[in-house]
């Protein structure tokens, strides 16, 4: 029973990792590629490690710590990459609707005591 469950998890993890690679290949610009690369690979890695924990229950605690580390570092590094690429001005695709990192065009109102 544990084997079948573990194998299902590993195969679905492999599917998500494959879709991450496909996304990095096909997305139009850098920011989309960063997004697909991070989200899909993090989920795929977590699923593969959970499946491995089902197959070898003796390693479950170590694999849980590994999952924790992956969830802690992967999103932070992609966040830093995306911010850095926006700061040096890498172009965005024409389908962009909202850019939240641009400087605000509305001046903040100064509240005087009047």
């Amino acid at each position: 029973m544990g084997e079948i469950l573990g194998s299902i998890f590993i195969v679905s993890g492999a599917f998500f990792l494959f879709s991450a690679g496909l996304g990095v290949l096909r997305m139009p610009d850098t920011y989309n590629r960063i997004q697909t690369g991070t989200k899909a690979t993090t989920l795929g890695t977590i699923l593969v490690l959970v499946g491995l924990a089902c197959l070898h229950p003796a390693w479950a605690l170590k694999l849980l710590i590994l999952v924790f580390f992956v969830m802690l570092t992967n999103p932070v590094s992609s966040h830093a990459l995306a911010r850095a690429s926006h700061a040096i001005g890498i172009y965005e695709t024409e389908a962009t609707v909202v850019d939240q990192l641009e400087e605000p065009t509305i001046e903040p109102e100064t509240e005087q005591a009047e």
Partner: protein, 242 residues
Amino acid sequence: MIKRLFIFAVLILMGTVFLKLGVNYSENGALLKLGHYYVDKGPAEIGAANLVTSVVVTYRGLDTLGEVTVLFISAAGVGQMLRRTRKKAGEDDEEDDDSTMRRHKPSSEIVETATELLLPMVILFGIYVFLNGHLSPGGGFQGGAIIASGTMFLLLALPESHISRAMISFTESLSGFGYVIVGVLGVVLGGGFLDNRIMGLGEYGSLFSAGAIPLIYTFVGLKVGFELSAVLDRFREDSESN
């Protein structure tokens, strides 16, 4: 054109030498005499589970002393080359400021928080690697490199952080001194330089086994870690001279 032909000829020449070496190479079927001796007598004499550690630290201890010395010389060389000289007139400052002004965008809060969470874990992992050098793959140099990569992590994510150079150089000198003291104690009390039987060989495979090897590797790991951190700190551009 002549230069390209010359380079091509050199590469072809070295390629034929390598090919001849590769074709005439056949694997040894069993351990050679020296390896056989180290593997055979190593666990009984030294007491370390990791045979490469017993070779590096005890059987070939003088090579490790040379390696530590080379690292120290290279760190001193980097410190000497990248010393912050006094600016001559005011004009040098402005040109540098314009090109480096772009990089002073502060890190976002997510990166800062994650760094503060992750840095102790990285340093803890480095300490684990050099404390268990005699039981599993690892050792002083690898653990020191992990600690230095933690420092690089800090320098990249929080570029305004201040690392006290006096503390780094003091700890590094103390660790190097301790390493040589343990080696000399090996000469005085034991069989030769860096003999690890000056402390008792504990139970085989536990953490406090293999005599003085954990102590030696602790000194080496701390020394290498702080030394490489100091080298990385030198490469930072506008470090406040301390």
